[in-house]
Symmetry: D2
Subunit: 221 residues, 4 copies
């Protein structure tokens, strides 16, 4: 099996996630500012647990090569990306103190802890399968919005968000992630119990991503 099988197994949830109003409204520039602020603050909390998941992947590795794979991502997260995130939020007037004081919302807890528990209970392949909807989904969203007729970059306050995920750097990073995932999945038959279990993990993680968009929308109501 490969990552396409995972997506096909939960096509409807996948579309709900990658074609969600939240990202469409980012592309048209119509997203409520407070929905975006909520998303930014929660995304910061999300990144902490995302880094924990990468560390868990190193703990769960058998070979030195496996241990080395998640390291650049983990280093980038802890050494630069979380700081960049704070800086970006400051351009929106959100202070570092405000970020730190923010309690985790339900959608953030849902997705992050689902990934971490799935990784703790399962093996490295289970963990990377639970992490996959995040990386792959944002790349799909980026590609789609770039070509979408209704996307309006000129004067769009969320332009840099769209450009980040549609951009070459992010897209090629995800291609590498997909290649590694497909390597892990290669010897697992889709119809095996193991294959079906991985499909269920991917599907549930995809549903939790929807909860993450939803909480942003609800924050603005």
């Amino acid at each position: 099996m490969n990552h396409q099988d995972l997506i096909a197994y939960c096509q409807q949830d996948w579309e709900e996630y990658t074609e969600h109003d939240f990202v469409n409204q980012l592309a048209t520039g119509d997203l409520n500012k407070y929905a975006f602020f909520h998303y930014l603050k929660q995304d910061y909390l999300f990144l902490k647990h995302y880094a924990r998941a990468y560390a868990l992947a190193i703990f769960k590795s058998s070979t030195l090569a496996e241990m080395r794979e998640p390291l650049p991502g983990l280093s980038a997260l802890l050494e630069s990306e979380m700081n960049h995130h704070i800086e970006y939020c400051q351009t929106w007037g959100l202070s570092a103190d405000e970020m730190e004081a923010e309690p985790e919302d339900f959608g953030t807890v849902c997705y992050t802890r689902y990934v971490l528990d799935t990784g703790s209970a399962g093996d490295r392949t289970d963990l990377f399968t639970a992490l996959a909807p995040c990386a792959i989904g944002y790349a799909v969203v980026g590609q789609r919005l770039e070509k979408w007729a209704e996307t309006k970059l000129e004067g769009n306050p969320y332009r840099s968000w769209v450009e980040l995920y549609a951009g070459e750097e992010y897209q090629s990073g995800v291609e590498e992630t997909i290649r590694r995932l497909d390597d892990m999945l290669e010897e697992i038959p889709l119809e095996s119990k193991r294959g079906q279990r991985l499909c269920e993990i991917f599907k549930t993680a995809t549903r939790m991503e929807v909860a993450f968009w939803e909480q942003g929308m609800q924050a603005a109501q």
Copy 2:
């Protein structure tokens, strides 16, 4: 510190949880039937992960005495309570197949995975602190509803739910749980970093319990 300190740290969240409309409407008999059905189906999925948390507590024990403490609860869950739950649901017309086919809703994922990840990342005391709002909260709800002026047991379709948690057996079980938790907390000063961290865990788990009630209410809308 003891369990009272944990509750006092998040008094407002605690009240939101233990005085939630969901349980008040159970006591008056006014709860929407579909809200209750949703709750029942999700509670079944919840119990599976609750049993996993008890097993994790055994894994995390140092002494034989510590290992033996969670065993009766774990055995009861896997050997009888989950079957009783299915039987009770059948009295409401929910089949076992329907229970099995139910996908986990967001509130269920939130609470269960938060507990399990907190337990995996922390030690046995962290785990039992994350589990505490469930047991203690249901006992507080039971006591409160039993005395509440608006509670109406006669002809109330949810009567057995109220009586279960107000009942002697459940209440004395929780007293034992509290005694053990207080033993674990006894040597930890409330104002220490460790004490404050445990307060944060209890508070977050309490907020996740609110999400669990909320998802029941939302299901009926």
Copy 3:
């Protein structure tokens, strides 16, 4: 693949383990009494971590059926077997206090922590593969010693040890364990990366069992 493939992969280590002088000398009655005492005391410490491994298996289960499988073994260990072990040791003049005061020897740490770490890092199948040499090996030892020409049960102080593992109850319990392991392994091709990794786990756990016999022998020197 199945359990026979695991054994075949490490045939030499397997024989070193199941045909070790320690068990041969139990069968002939020639084992040094202090070697046996050391073994008994360490086996008690071993059982604690063995129970932790069973609890970990429940934590790592996806379905209710999977969660229920290790429960009877876990309950038996914590509720009766550890007490029986203490009683048996008392017939040899080893007091419960002596058992409790015994520090874990290296071979005990090797085997138990290898199993637990392999289970934590991997999934349920990795865990049961690491546990397999213990159950299967003792059954093989029991069968072999029962038929061995040099086995001398009459007047042998270790007779009950040999009879326990050669006995119907232990043998049929292991048959069930093997059946479950083979079910888990069924869909994994021996030559896959996953299959080879499981072979390495089984081989290392088998080598750690040898360390467990060795430490008994060394204690008597």
Copy 4:
């Protein structure tokens, strides 16, 4: 409590570890070459699991500051130290292939899996306490050998080993490690159950370090 309490709790084991013949013979230059080769090959396998323990510490962190602490050590291990180790071994005529083909010996399994299981079952403080004998002990060995009357650096084939651990860079790194450990231990009373449990962890890990030296000595026999 602080790290001195941990050492004082197991003074005899600590001396057996830090004044072991293995390191004394390194300082006098008398160590059997094959004992050293065995040590080098096992140390390479040790480093892999040491890196896994650092990753586990990141997984087990609550704050961003906690997550960042083990990262430089983890990066250094995976990006440079393991390669340097291979290069150093090559100067002794041990090929990279030989390193990879080496099975883990019992002492290596003992120490590494004890640390990892203690960390999995406990919290971040338990994990760092189990890791502490390694870092602190090597610094103590380095200091002692540097001043020891019988140490002979001139013409000693193991000179670089002694100089590495006696050197400024290693010593100041360990001072930082000790400062962090003492911060974690500061609010835990030595006589509390938690304090005594940490003493037991440190003692057992120290005993496992002895097993690591021992296996080197035995390999030369």
